[in-house]
């Protein structure tokens, strides 16, 4: 009898693990990578990317998960077309040649409503490790659409653009950039 119970429990284990690990698809209408950068030392300029796609997994049982995001580099928007064209040019993002900015996690550690995400950020074909500080993780049913379950969070990271071969106009235009992500993802 003991063997039967043990066998039953063991056979259910994969299902339990499967149930704790949930897959999500990034909601591009509520996910926007933002950035700030010093403009000639006078002010802090803000910008954002309009198109982001990707997948998340959340393993609440093990307090881990994964993140895989692709940002359309051509969708950069600072509110001024001429500057956006310049940011898309080979001077900065070289968006025609490298249309995607990607981030892929290598380790996710969830702690309550916070998480630390370690991963690799690729800009202009250069890949460097970047750690995201994730805050305010909140999951639940969409109040406007009960059958839809979504998770959201805010994430930040600090990078140096020169690490990604974006060296134009250094040091006049700042090297330090703050990345801020507002992310929402819908459970598959």
């Amino acid at each position: 009898m003991r063997k039967m119970i043990l066998g039953f429990v063991l056979s259910c284990l994969p299902f339990a693990v499967f149930a704790a690990k949930e897959n999500y698809t990034i909601d591009p209408l509520h996910t926007f990578p933002n950035f700030t950068i010093s403009h000639l030392g006078f002010s802090t300029m803000h910008g954002r990317f309009g198109n982001t796609t990707g997948k998340l997994t959340m393993d609440t049982a093990n307090n881990t998960g994964s993140v895989e995001v692709a940002i359309d580099a051509t969708s950069v928007d600072t509110g001024y077309k001429k500057r956006d064209d310049h940011l898309r040019s080979p001077d900065f993002l070289n968006a025609t040649e490298f249309p995607e900015i990607t981030y892929k996690s290598t380790k996710v550690t969830i702690n309550g409503d916070k998480a630390i995400v370690e991963g690799n950020l690729t800009i202009k074909g250069v890949t460097k490790p970047v750690t995201l500080d994730v805050q305010r993780i909140h999951c639940g049913s969409n109040p406007m659409k009960k059958e839809e379950y979504r998770c959201g969070f805010d994430a930040t990271a600090d990078i140096k653009r020169s690490n990604f071969d974006v060296t134009f106009a250094l040091p006049a235009i700042g090297d330090d950039m703050r990345l801020m992500f507002e992310v929402e993802a819908i459970r598959d």
Binding site: K82, R83, D85, H86, R88, S89, P90, V126, D165, A172
Partner: protein, 274 residues
């Protein structure tokens, strides 16, 4: 000093001019052939300051710098060991076309058939034409230098207007170094041009124009204007007039096409975002 080295005007104009001038003085003193190579020397100094000589990742801009250096080396070799002229124009056209395809390949592969062929054909013709039309000027130093100056000014400043200061600076460095070449010609009337001038200048001007169109926002219809510059450098000149006058006439003949390209780009794209 650091402040000077990061100043865009210093990087794209002063340093290339001085580097080309010093190299030209040395080569002329040595009585060397192919003094025209000093233009690419000025360009490479600018490239070193603004992009460095790293080859990874191999972006379109780095490919252009690499091809400029290879073109200069090829030009010097052709000046020392001339080949039969019979096939040279075909070889140059094909080389320019292949180089153009290499530069725009990451974009071409994402295009639909119609746009693919339009972009590929246009780029190949522009780069190929530049190579062949500039090659005709290799035995005419002042004409070659004037064409290089106008191509540098036109390509460089149009690229700046077309939202790429990087490509603009590289183009402008060709103009600055060409200015040094023309200045030296006043003191060394027997200064040669050779394939060492025409091949790299044609390669760089062609590819920078294409890159500014494909990777920035330079309107494609400015390129035909730039393409006629080597033709304008062939205008008839009075035989027994001073060199300086001939030089001024050539600059006056070639510069309108460059200025036209700049004005058109400014009209379409507006002033650069500073």
């Amino acid at each position: 000093m650091d402040e000077l080295l990061t100043n865009p005007v210093f990087q794209a104009a002063v340093i290339p001019f001085i580097a080309a001038l010093v190299a030209g003085l040395i080569l002329n003193r040595l009585g060397s052939h192919g003094v025209g190579v000093i233009i690419v020397i000025g360009f490479l100094f600018c490239a070193w300051l603004i992009v460095d000589f790293k080859l990874s990742p191999l972006t379109s801009t780095r490919k252009i710098i690499l091809l400029g250096a290879i073109a200069a080396f090829t030009g010097v070799v052709l000046d020392i060991y001339p080949l039969s002229r019979r096939y040279i124009p075909y070889i140059l056209f094909t080389t320019g076309a292949i180089a153009a395809l290499w530069i725009i390949w990451p974009v071409l592969v994402r295009k639909e058939a119609g746009e693919f062929w339009f972009m590929a054909t246009g780029s190949c013709i522009y780069a190929g034409w530049m190579m062949v039309s500039m090659d005709r000027l290799r035995i005419m130093p002042i004409r070659a230098g004037s064409a290089a100056l106008a191509l540098g000014v036109g390509t460089g400043l149009s690229a700046v207007m077309g939202a790429s200061a990087l490509l603009g600076q590289l183009g402008s460095s060709v103009a600055a170094a060409s200015g040094a070449y023309l200045l030296l010609a006043l003191f060394f009337p027997n200064q040669s041009a050779g394939s060492a001038l025409t091949i790299p200048v044609a390669m760089l001007s062609g590819l920078l124009g294409i890159a500014a169109n494909v990777y920035a926002t330079l309107p494609w219809y400015t390129l035909p204007l730039l393409a006629i510059i080597p033709l304008l450098a062939c205008i008839p000149l009075p035989e027994h007039k001073p060199l300086l006058l001939k030089m001024v006439l050539l600059v006056l003949a070639t510069m309108p096409a460059a200025i036209g390209a700049i004005i058109i780009t400014w009209g379409v794209e507006g002033a650069p975002p500073i």
